[in-house]
């Protein structure tokens, strides 16, 4: 059985590792810390702005890619994204997501702006900002970072992306997550809402505010471990309910992280947290092992193939030094897009900063353009995208993860079928 090491436990790393393990590889996932999912809205953004607002992301993909040479969507087409999203939905479980990768929903944010995303947690579906919608935005005053008035008033004065307007009013609840606590995080509220008794009291408080015909917008705190919170609250409130994602810790992101971590473990992935990769060994153009900083003494993980899912600047995988030089911090790989004089321009609200397009280059199988034959890269480390501005991060992550995993599995199958004779794979036996 071939061994694969995946580095990084964000969306890209978890998906790649699970697919590899399900395909029969022996997978070790080493990671410095938790990946970016608990910071994310828990939505699957494919393409939101190109740069104007996108309504049908997969239809827009080819044109967007053509206009942006070097963007990962030049290698990962609409079918690759469909495959990636379908696989993610399978891993998360059938009830987790709603929506269609073909169409963007337009959903309210925590400041009352309207954000495009394609496949979203079931609890967000009823929040689609369409002409004639009537929202009541409400939540506990004891919850940090949720301001019903700001959200409702901004939504109500916005011309909707697809035309028309919606009506929104707001109300603030006096409803602590725990007795005596005055500024709890969303996660604390979510834990309280996991408890059916607390949930009943909360639903009663909300029900008292709702007028006929209104859809209720709540903060995205509908439970971390109990999957029935949405249906239960909807029934008890007696009106459709949707949620608005909050700044981190983001409950839908935490939930997705838990679900995908559990799926990886169930598939047999050996997850090693707290293991920052600090070194590696290679020979004849192949990586032999990575070495992690571990309590006491470094540990070495040998493998036949390696998948790098280390994210970008935000996770420390890329580093800009004081001489304006960008480094890939794990293997020192050559970078694409780093050889320009002005990595950051002064116009903060202007066009995308060149710095954020820096990353590693790959071929169509996600094999890294660099010194090693058996190293693949997926997710945020890929060059060419400004993920948060385009709203393309999750689409790239899942499509590249599935592509790389399938390429590695195919390479394994090929070497298994041609023993001894294939000299291209010498050294892989290490």
């Amino acid at each position: 059985m071939s061994r694969v090491v995946v580095i990084g436990a964000g969306l890209a790393g978890l998906v790649a590792a699970t697919r590899l393990a399900q395909g029969g590889a022996r997978v070790v996932l080493v990671t410095k810390g938790t990946g970016g999912l608990p910071l994310s809205q828990g939505t699957i953004d494919i393409l939101g702005y190109a740069p104007e607002r996108v309504t049908r992301p997969l239809d827009a993909l080819a044109g967007f890619a053509a206009a942006n040479p070097g963007h990962p969507y030049n290698l990962l087409d609409a079918d690759a994204v469909r495959l990636g999203v379908a696989y993610l939905r399978e891993l998360a479980g059938p009830e987790v997501f709603v929506g269609d990768p073909e169409v963007n929903l337009q959903l309210p944010t925590a400041v009352g702006a309207i954000r495009p995303s394609a496949v979203v947690p079931a609890e967000m579906a009823a929040g689609a900002c369409v002409d004639g919608a009537r929202f009541l935005i409400t939540g506990p005053g004891q919850l940090k970072d949720f301001h019903p008035q700001l959200i409702a008033e901004n939504l109500a004065r916005t011309q909707l992306p697809e035309g028309g307007r919606l009506a929104a009013r707001w109300a603030q609840l006096d409803f602590p997550a725990r007795p005596g606590e005055s500024d709890s995080t969303g996660l604390t509220f979510a834990r309280s809402l996991d408890d059916p008794a607390y949930r009943r009291r909360f639903a009663a408080a909300v029900r008292a505010l709702v007028q006929p015909g209104e859809t209720v917008g709540l903060p995205a705190v509908l439970g971390v471990s109990d999957a029935s919170v949405l249906t239960d609250l909807t029934a008890q409130i007696g009106a459709p309910v949707f949620t608005i994602p909050l700044p981190p810790p983001s409950v839908p992101g935490v939930r997705l992280n838990n679900q995908l971590t559990a799926a990886a473990k169930a598939a047999g992935v050996r997850i090693i947290p707290g293991a920052k990769v600090i070194d590696h060994r290679s020979s004849n153009g192949r990586l032999l092992s990575v070495i992690s900083a571990t309590a006491g003494t470094p540990r070495e993980y040998a493998a036949d193939y390696f998948v790098q899912a280390t994210g970008g600047f935000e996770s420390g995988a890329l580093h800009l030094d004081s001489h304006n030089v960008v480094h890939e911090t794990v293997f020192g790989l050559p970078l694409v897009g780093a050889d320009i004089t002005e990595l950051v321009h002064g116009d903060y609200w202007g066009p995308p900063q060149p710095l954020f397009k820096v990353g590693v280059g790959v071929d169509a199988s996600m094999k890294v353009d660099g010194p090693y034959d058996n190293l693949y890269a997926v997710g945020g480390i890929l060059a060419g995208a400004t993920r948060w501005q385009e709203k393309s991060g999750e689409g790239i992550a899942v499509a590249s993860a599935v592509r790389a995993a399938d390429a590695v599995l195919a390479a394994i199958a090929a070497t298994d079928q041609t023993p001894a004779r294939d000299d291209a794979t010498q050294g892989a036996q290490a």
Partner: protein
């Protein structure tokens, strides 16, 4: 003598200021990931959580602590493990707590830190000690006077120490084929959890190793976690000398998950002990399940295991997870035919060494461990597995399920019991 001699917790904040832990706070990007994993702030509003008492409050500390909820941190180490930016949150917290408590260290915290003393005192009168600690009125007096909660788990004293067993047992009949190892049993493994040590040694001997058990004392972990850094430093260096006397360059094996963590990294990273003897031991010591898995990965572990048909809950202690090696016991258990080990998925059992013994923390510790106790009972009411002694006592006491070290099943699967 040693470079850390000036690092005195009673002087000021020196040892912390000198440490990399403090420098790491500037890496905090306020992502809140640590907050989502902290087992204590999840169950009580009394603790504001790792980001707040760690990188946030540390900026305002100049000796004096600005946030006294810090004392509710159990030092489980989870926050440091999950932080994607490498902030040493738990280490910062432990250092700040030592400073905060320096001038009013409760007698209770000094007493419960003296693990060896308790073991030595209890062994010769084990039946008496066990009966006394099971006696409710006495426990209520202890709670009042000393501050140890009346229902907190206490170890069961044994009539024989490990040293006693080693002296009396028949010498192994098989000649070693794989060289020598040094065995570190820890206080619990010497006095209370004697069976775990015996089984570990027998497994290693079965594999063909000669096992050397040098005379050894306490690693000082309980003192460290209670902020008694001076005593803990003296302890651990004494222990290093003793373990080094077992043999130069030999691998050191232990089945005490948390004491191993103290030797591997905590003494250095929390107390700033910077001593070549510690550096030598910390690079040579391996957890026993880690060692077995390394052997397996190298193709050197015999897997002619007997089938054991059992579904068993396995809980990886937080201080083991903090060592950054994953959960080796899970992988080793997968090698035994018939064994279906179910990972608890729970962050911490609550006890965190001596935390859950304290009367003001007992309820919190129970709430932290509750999902684990429920999971254990639901998975197998007769047996649970966990790598660390105090966690086993906590799980056994609160769930009513007998709890053993994973080596227990390996021993059985090799036909040794």
């Amino acid at each position: 003598m040693t470079p850390h001699d000036s690092n005195n917790a009673h002087d000021n904040n020196n040892y912390a200021a000198d440490q990399v832990a403090r420098a790491s706070l500037d890496h905090c990007v306020k992502c809140n990931i640590c907050e989502t994993h902290c087992p204590v702030s999840a169950v009580t509003p009394l603790f504001s959580g790792p980001k707040f008492v760690g990188p946030q409050a540390e900026r305002y500390r100049h000796g004096e602590s600005v946030d006294h909820s810090l004392d509710y941190c159990s030092s489980c180490g989870t926050c440091t493990l999950v932080c994607p930016q490498g902030v040493q949150i738990a280490e910062l917290n432990s250092q700040a707590r030592a400073v905060m408590k320096a001038d009013h260290m409760p007698l209770r915290d000094q007493l419960i830190s003296r693990t060896t003393l308790m073991g030595m005192a209890m062994t010769p009168m084990a039946p008496v000690a066990n009966a006394a600690l099971g006696f409710k009125p006495l426990r209520m007096v202890i709670e009042k006077v000393v501050g140890i909660h009346r229902d907190a788990p206490m170890p069961t004293a044994r009539t024989q120490t490990l040293t006693g067993w080693l002296k009396k047992r028949k010498a192994p009949t098989k000649a070693p084929t794989r060289g020598s190892l040094v065995y570190f049993h820890g206080c619990a493994g010497g006095y209370f959890e004697v069976e775990t040590s015996k089984r570990s040694i027998e497994v290693l001997e079965h594999l063909g190793y000669e096992v050397i058990v040098p005379k050894q004392s306490c690693c000082g972990l309980a003192q460290q976690s209670n902020g008694l850094f001076d005593q803990a430093t003296a302890q651990i260096l004494k222990l290093c000398d003793e373990l080094r006397a077992g043999g130069k360059d030999l691998t050191i094996i232990s089945a005490s998950g948390s004491c191993t963590g103290m030797l591997k990294h905590e003494a250095h990273e929390i107390m700033g002990v910077d001593d070549s003897r510690l550096a030598d031991v910390s690079t040579r010591i391996r957890d026993i399940m880690e060692f077995l898995l390394d052997l397996h990965d190298a193709g050197e572990l015999p897997t002619n295991f007997k089938t054991i048909d059992i579904t068993v809950p396995y809980h990886a202690p937080c201080q083991l997870k903090a060592q950054g090696m994953g959960q080796p016991a899970m992988e080793v258990l997968k090698l035994i035919p018939g064994v279906k080990a179910i990972e608890s998925g729970v962050t911490c059992c609550g006890i965190a060494g001596t935390y859950g013994l304290k009367k003001e923390k007992y309820e919190i510790a129970q709430a932290v461990g509750q999902p684990l106790f429920d999971m254990v009972k639901a998975t197998n009411p007769d047996l649970a597995l966990c790598d660390t002694e105090t966690c086993r006592w906590q799980i056994a006491k609160s769930s009513g399920v007998r709890t053993e070290h994973p080596i227990y099943l390996v021993h059985q699967a090799y036909g040794l019991s």
